[in-house]
Amino acid sequence: MAHVASSASEAARARTATSAAASGRRGLFLLAALLVALPIALPNAYFYDVAIAVALNAIVCVGLNLLIGYAGQISLGHAGFFALGGYGSAILSGTHGWPAGLALLASSAAVGLLAFVVGRPTLRLKGHYLAMATLGLGIIISIVIATEDRVTGGPDGMPVPPLALLGWKIHGELAWYALTGAALLFTVWLALNLIESPVGRALRALHGSEVAAETLGIASAAYKLRVFVLSAVFAAAAGALTAHHAGFITPVQGSFMHSVGLVIMVVFGGMASIFGAVVGAAVLTTLPQVLTVLKDYEMMVFGAVLIVTMVFFPHGIVPTLARWWARRRA
């Protein structure tokens, strides 16, 4: 009897050891294959631009999903971090002549520090105070960017120098595609590792039951703060890359509507799903490009997408499809 039980548990043990980590690795491999194969299907520079925008938005969404989907905290100001990362890097490299790579790192770190300063008092409170605080912060950031025209160029925006990493100038669409694709893969890899670690479990635990997490010794406020700072740094780095790629940056990047758009990408793709964030970013970045005729109604389309998601697949598109696939195979 005992023998049977133990051999059954050995089998179960082997299964669990593989399932979560292996499905993550499979997904990462699939994403890498897709990124390598995609240039075959991209006919011109315009399509590369869209693909690069998808990758950069996906980086923001993977970070944002760690915060929203895994830790259960909502931020309505991530476009602010995105824009600050871009402007910081633009000002340091353009106005002050820093090497662009260093400017990118410095502005991402500075945004992380800002997130820490704002998050520390807010995340000690229970409830949706982070959403309120980040909503306010995002609006303040976009107002400051638009009014400090001597530094930021005001509503007209400012030019951004091209990016060079370790003496290698990133030039042309293919180079940018390779860089942003690699950055996305790296981000996804980091996020997958984080989720399958004590830190990731602590985040999921405080989302599942904060009181139970605390009774296991998890300092919930500290973990919320860490993931908030991490997601802000991801957003800032993606924002800086976006600015250097476009060669120009405007305050629109930091608008409240952009923040909402990012949240919709996460919710549509699937909460607590790393690949969901990537798919959400891909679909909702491409959609406005495909439906250019509906340009004026972009926010309406986004709103409709959010409503349909909430009503028909509240878990998001990727988790819903994954569950459907698992049921079909069972």
Binding site: L190, L194, S197, R201, S209, I218
Partner: protein, 288 residues
Amino acid sequence: MSALRQPSPAASASEPGRAAVRDVACAHAPVLGVEGVSKSFGGVHAIEDVSFDVRPGTVHSIIGPNGAGKTTLLNMLAGIYVPDAGRIRLDGRDVAGLPTHRYAAAGIGRTFQNLQVFFNMTALENVMTGRHLHERCSMLSAMLRTPARARAEAACREVATRLLERVGLASHLAARADTMPYGALKRLEIARALAAEPRVLLLDEPAAGLNATEAREIETLIRELTADGTTVVLVEHNMRLVMEASDRIVVLDRGRLLADGTPAEIARDPQVIEAYLGAPQAKEAAHA
């Protein structure tokens, strides 16, 4: 469900060990000291001036009629509520007022009457989360999955697997918590609390909603725990379980300490019988 009914091999072996631990325990200072603790909610005195000591390696039960303040007291012992007055000493150190996670770090673990399982995880992940205090893990090493981190992760998985086997959930390792039956979830919470290796484990109605067989398995588990040196504070309505498993019992009534004694003393105490059955029946019950 079949796993729940498997007899635990250690059940019979635990008895002599437990008696030995109890003898040693009497010589020790209390591991948990409750000194004049009070708590009120908006003028309602949920707990008033309650004091008792819990000796290491024993089972100390808290009983009382509904609304007596048992869960309030347990929430204070777990650091979820801060007492209005009084001290809670763990190994002599006053811990009252510390944040909840510091209570856990000081060695107090608990389960919940209304389940607080992490339903967004598998059974194994729930228990691995319980190892939190024993994991050293920076954000950076977690994200880069350093070789040391990967080894620690495998070791954590191993410990969690053994704990699930110990509570009879070997067949549920990979199951998502939200698909598991109630009795299994009760055990999952115990395994998760044990993963933290608490010196004092607070069990809030571990047998509630379980059938007689499952309740007996909980009793066996409690005996094994104390044999290993863990101290158990038990809040429970199942009187058979309380009387069988406890070394000492405190009785609460309307927030006050009514009695503190061995199961035999409590069973004879006329005040306790009155509190439970009401004054007129007390005499008959004493004879019964």
